[in-house]
Symmetry: C2
Subunit: 356 residues, 2 copies
């Protein structure tokens, strides 16, 4: 090579270094979510995350979101992130209670904390510490991924007037709430989302729990099960972002910071989105479907649910020291947080109703 | 210059371009906040914002936060951002009601929306649209900057048993709530934070409103004014981030995205921080200061406050078409959002209290 040619090559090499797109290798990640990619608001946090991360990183960090229609493994998210097929996941922590019962605390528990109480526990008490402890054994990192607020207690074909009405009832309700209902004599099953309406219509089940008006009305349950019960079992269901730990550690400091901030903003936004969707759906429901009967379970039924919940939680605590420690933290914080909720938000709403 | 020397110079110039720190000029901004820089949680969003922006941008975007101890103009923030002395500000929108009465909607209004309701209105209804419209005339951009949740109704030396007890009472209470109290015969004043305790102690005022237990207890008001009233006038006070519009437009696309995401995450986090601080302070207050008497205003007083609030809002609407339009949007959204709050959070807390 001639001397001039050598200079040209050297200059070209330096010019490539000078181009940001070439200087920093583009990081490409995949995220698997439990939901179909169109199922807002649950599918919103990953979509918003990917958008924010791409924009903030100037296109040097790309997250491709794959819904369950693509990967076909809605309840395989934790395993796929742990195994590294996906660098990230978006799901619900309580789906992994079979792997570790302590995972339930990072979604919600029956008669547990409200959204504000739980976020305060996560970020300004011990919640995040325990979250990382529990997920450490899977070699994944876990972060809050968006909150639904209070979920409704579900749709029932017949009114529930007493504990006797629960005996032998066939109901789709997952998680710890399902165990509570089972203790009260309900025949509990889990059924995939796509088969819920048909199962209810054909009498395979007599009742089911889904999310809240924002998501329920689209499913059409009200046409065949008109009794819609207020919530007790999922007061603040938090979704989760899962990250493969080794993948995270390989990120640059900037990309780590971008990912952490985007997750926090995306999680907060889902709560706003779902609140608005619920408010809109509730209004529409009252107008378009006046035959829906909104009910609260009778007090003896609720008291039995509370007793069964406490017994279940205590029985898990007796078998599992980590569960016991987190339960104690959760109960300690909730006790004081609830006093503040009652004197602030609850009292304010009560006052506002009285002056009308 | 010899040929070889020319090559060396060219190579050095290219090498400088290849260095990220040189390739991208560091953007240095200043942010002025209404609060002393140590006054958490109000001072937390700017501090968190600056940290996130620095980390996410790899040090190419630096925001220097200056508290009121530095700039000495706590109520000059909007003017300083508008004028470009500071690229950003952190304050409360309702402080600018003298410049434009419509600014109050982006903080809170008496008997208005709760935190969740208001965020839903901001992000998933018309709130943000109106926010930008109102601030456009100042050539600044405005974004949510952190929420206090329900603020307490204030500290009173004597119990309020009737409307007569308000007549002639000297009280420090700013904003629209001050106008409401004035209509009810209260002698309303505003006093800087640093003089509040002395003014209350010496009888210059008989009562005052501050924030909530997380911030109030530190001020010592309970020692001289033991009646602590529940909230009605600031159900969800949102702080604000202000940005000089020309400065924002000069930012790169990456820096714009980084700033927007960091503001959203910082705002959400302040709500969690203040909730935890309030819960902790409430518990401590109950233990350490059992003589504090927590009260709710009698219903006739609250009804008079509500009537005065509606009359004030309607009178502003009659004079200002923009105010009228935003008020109608706010009332429309709140009406449906409140129905959902009552059936979800309110009903859930009520249920939880009954089963105990």
């Amino acid at each position: 090579m001639k001397f001039i040619a050598k200079i040209a090559v050297a200059a070209a090499a330096l010019a490539m270094l000078a181009s940001p797109a070439m200087a920093e290798k583009v990081v490409k990640w995949k995220l698997a979510e439990t939901w179909p990619s169109t199922l807002t608001p649950l599918a919103s946090p990953p979509a918003n995350l990917a958008k924010m991360v791409k924009e903030m990183s100037g296109g040097t960090f790309i997250i491709k979101v794959e819904g369950k229609e693509k990967h076909k493994a809605p309840l395989g998210i934790l395993d796929m992130v742990k195994g590294g097929q996906y660098q990230m996941g978006h799901s619900g922590s309580y789906y992994w209670k079979g792997k570790d019962i302590s995972t339930i605390f990072f979604t919600t528990i029956p008669f547990g904390m409200t959204t504000a109480e739980q976020y305060a526990w996560f970020y300004y008490d011990d919640g995040m510490k325990y979250m990382q402890q529990v997920y450490d054994k899977f070699k994944v990192l876990n972060f809050p991924g968006g909150n639904t607020g209070v979920q409704m207690g579900g749709w029932f074909k017949k009114e529930i007037n007493s504990l006797d009405d629960l005996k032998g009832l066939k109901m789709r309700i997952p998680g710890l709430a399902g165990e509570v209902f089972a203790k009260l004599g309900v025949n509990v099953t889990n059924i995939p989302a796509g088969e819920l309406y048909t199962s209810l219509d054909r009498g395979t089940i007599d009742a089911l729990e889904w999310v809240g008006p924002g998501m329920d009305i689209k499913m059409g349950f009200h046409k065949i099960a008109p009794y819609y019960y207020t919530g007790w079992h999922e007061p603040a269901s938090e979704m989760q972002f899962l990250i493969n730990k080794r993948a995270f550690e390989k990120l640059s400091a900037e990309h780590k910071a971008i990912l952490l901030t985007a997750m926090k903003a995306a999680a907060a936004d889902m709560y706003y989105e779902n609140f608005a969707a619920s408010a809109n759906a509730w209004e529409k429901m009252k107008t378009d479907f006046p035959n829906i009967k909104v009910k609260t379970f009778p007090l003896p039924v609720l008291k039995a649910m509370k007793k069964a919940t406490d017994e279940l939680l205590d029985s898990y605590a007796a078998k599992d020291p980590q569960f016991k420690e987190i339960l104690e933290s959760e109960r300690r914080f909730m006790k004081k947080a609830r006093q503040w909720t009652i004197i602030s938000d609850y009292k304010y709403i009560q006052t506002s109703m009285e002056v009308e």
